[in-house]
Structures are given as structure tokens and as C-alpha cells.
């Protein structure tokens, strides 16, 4: 019998440690896809990651790269500072829905608007995970959270915000895409999108944004499989997957 070949293993850029993420939380999957992209381009030792606040805060514990920790919502501004000092180094941010679409809306819009050559990974799980499941700007109408116990009321709280669409309207955005990781097919597509988002930066094309729909089983009050189904059944219909802007050559 010929020897077996390992065809799947942990990427080099991802540390060999157990994560703090809950069972079924898709941060882990998304971390792996980002690490895959860094491995693919061989940029691990040049990359600067900007950690944000939320379950994503432990970025430096999981990626084997240099990292700076930003205040809540400010990662795009911090990344701008780093990228302007090191224009030849890949710089990316990794942010959740509170960080990017609530407190950080100004920073993300203006960073995209300036066309900063950055890659932004936006994990949308329609809730504030780290702080215990409060309503997020992306929480769906009627979604019960710890701060919308009767369900998100459009009259009081407005509609969920669609970031991939919003940022696609800016000249400075070169690439804006929404993906999910709820099926193997979607995982592979997400991996491609993340890789392209890094390539956009490496080719100096401009601002690249990937919104990834993800689960938060703990705060949704579901088990991992139920949570994963919610992505397909409820989230994807509201937040359609697809490329919203591709101005890359």
C-alpha cells in the first residue's frame, strides 16, 4: 500500500492551541480560513493583525502574527495608522457586529472611503456574544436578545444594517462580499473570498471587505446544529450571500 498523504491539517499561521470559542461557534472556522489565506500567500511573518473587542479579542492567542489590540470599533483607524507606517506589510482587522456596525460605523465607512489598502473580516452573528447576547445592529426583526426581550422592534430599533451593501456604495471599496460557513460548500466559497480579500490588498487594489455570517449558539439559546440551521433559514434570506462590489482587475 502506498503511503497516505495528509490532505488537510491546521494552517501554519494558526497556533496549535484550544480556543475559548463555544462549541459550534464559527469564529474558529473563520480564523482557519484567514490563516489559510496567510499561508497561501506566505505572508504570516509580514502580517500585522488588528484585534478588536468582543469574542474576537483573543486574536493574538490564535494567529501566529504580530498583533495590535484596538479599542472597541476603532480597529480600522488603528489599522490605517499601521498601514500608513508600513505600506508594504499586509494589515487586516477582524471585527464582530457590535464592533464594526455599531460603535465603529464611522471608522469602517471612512476607512473604506479613503480606500485604505486593508482587509477587513467582519463576523456577523446578529448578537453581541462576549457581553452576553445583547441586540446587535444586525439582529433580525423580532429576534429576542437580552436587550430586546420581546424581539427586535423595528419601530424602536430600526432595521438590521447590511454592511456589505453599504460599503459597496463607496468609491474607495475595491471588494465587498458576503459569505457564510454553514455548509462545506459555503466554507470553501468563504475561503476563496477571504483569499481574494487579501489578494486585493497585496495587489494594492484598495479596501477589501468580507462579511461572514456565523453562529452564536450560546447566546441564541440553541445547540450548534440548530444554530447552524438558523444561518441558512433566517440569516441568509435577510443577508444574501454574494459579491456586492468587485472593482479589482
Amino acid at each position: 500500500m502506498t503511503e497516505m498523504k495528509k490532505v488537510f491539517s491546521r494552517p501554519d499561521s494558526l497556533k496549535d492551541v484550544q480556543t475559548h470559542f463555544c462549541p459550534g461557534c464559527q469564529h474558529g472556522t473563520i480564523h482557519r480560513l484567514v490563516a489559510d489565506a496567510m499561508d497561501y500567500f506566505g505572508i504570516k511573518d509580514q502580517t500585522i493583525g488588528v484585534a478588536s473587542v468582543g469574542c474576537s479579542v483573543f486574536l493574538y492567542g490564535y494567529f501566529d502574527i504580530d498583533v495590535i489590540e484596538a479599542p472597541h470599533g476603532r480597529a480600522p483607524a488603528v489599522a490605517t495608522g499601521a498601514k500608513r507606517v508600513h505600506p508594504n506589510r499586509p494589515v487586516f482587522t477582524y471585527q464582530g457586529d457590535g464592533d464594526l456596525a455599531a460603535i465603529g460605523t464611522s471608522e469602517i465607512i471612512h476607512t473604506a472611503n479613503r480606500g485604505e489598502k486593508l482587509t477587513v473580516i467582519f463576523v456577523n452573528n446578529t448578537t453581541y456574544g462576549m457581553t452576553g447576547g445583547q441586540m446587535a445592529p444586525t439582529s433580525l426583526p423580532g429576534q429576542k436578545t437580552s436587550t430586546s426581550p420581546e424581539g427586535r422592534d423595528i419601530g424602536n430599533d430600526g432595521y438590521p444594517i447590511k454592511m456589505a451593501e453599504l460599503l459597496s456604495g463607496l468609491e474607495g471599496t475595491a471588494y465587498s462580499v458576503r459569505v457564510a460557513v454553514d455548509t462545506p460548500k459555503h466554507v470553501l466559497q468563504a475561503g476563496k473570498a477571504i483569499r481574494k480579500a487579501f489578494k486585493t490588498q497585496l495587489d494594492g487594489q484598495g479596501f477589501a471587505f468580507v462579511e461572514v455570517l456565523a453562529t452564536c449558539p450560546t447566546n441564541w439559546g440553541m445547540n450548534p446544529l440548530q444554530a447552524n440551521e438558523r444561518v441558512a433559514d433566517e440569516m441568509i434570506p435577510y443577508f444574501p450571500l454574494g459579491v456586492y462590489k468587485d472593482a479589482t482587475e
Binding site: E3, K6, T29
Partner: protein
């Protein structure tokens, strides 16, 4: 066997996403707790025989707990 997966029992958090990823439903959830207190995913020797090494289980796994080996005739 031609292909195999190796599930790191201590990394696995028992989320079961791999069980829906496998096109042949070869992965099951153990009935015995691991040291972390989770019921990890397991695959029997018998089921391993039918593994095609497609890697879809590993792609779905949020904890990168699965390694996949292919080849050998």
C-alpha cells in the same frame, strides 16, 4: 484503508457540525465525555473504510480538530 480522518478528541468540543458535513454521515458523537467535558465526534474503524478523504468534515470543524489523509491503494 485508503483514506482516513483523525479526530483530535481533546480539541473536539462536540459541536457535531462534522456530522452534517460528511456526505456519507460516517461521523457520530461519542457517548463518553472527553477530559474537557464534551462528547466528542468519533468515527468507527468500519466507517473509516468508506471514507473518501473529501475533507468536508475538516472544512466544517471550527476547532480544526480533524486531520485528513488520502491515498494508498
Amino acid at each position: 484503508m485508503a483514506n482516513k480522518i483523525v479526530i483530535d478528541e481533546l480539541r473536539c468540543k462536540g459541536c457535531a457540525l462534522c456530522t452534517i458535513a460528511c456526505p456519507q454521515k460516517l461521523i457520530k458523537m461519542s457517548k463518553e465525555l472527553n477530559k474537557q467535558g464534551f462528547l466528542p465526534a468519533v468515527i468507527s474503524e468500519e466507517d473509516l473504510e468508506r471514507c473518501t478523504g473529501c475533507t468536508l468534515c475538516a472544512q466544517m470543524c471550527p476547532d480544526v480538530a480533524i486531520e485528513v489523509f488520502k491515498g494508498g491503494k
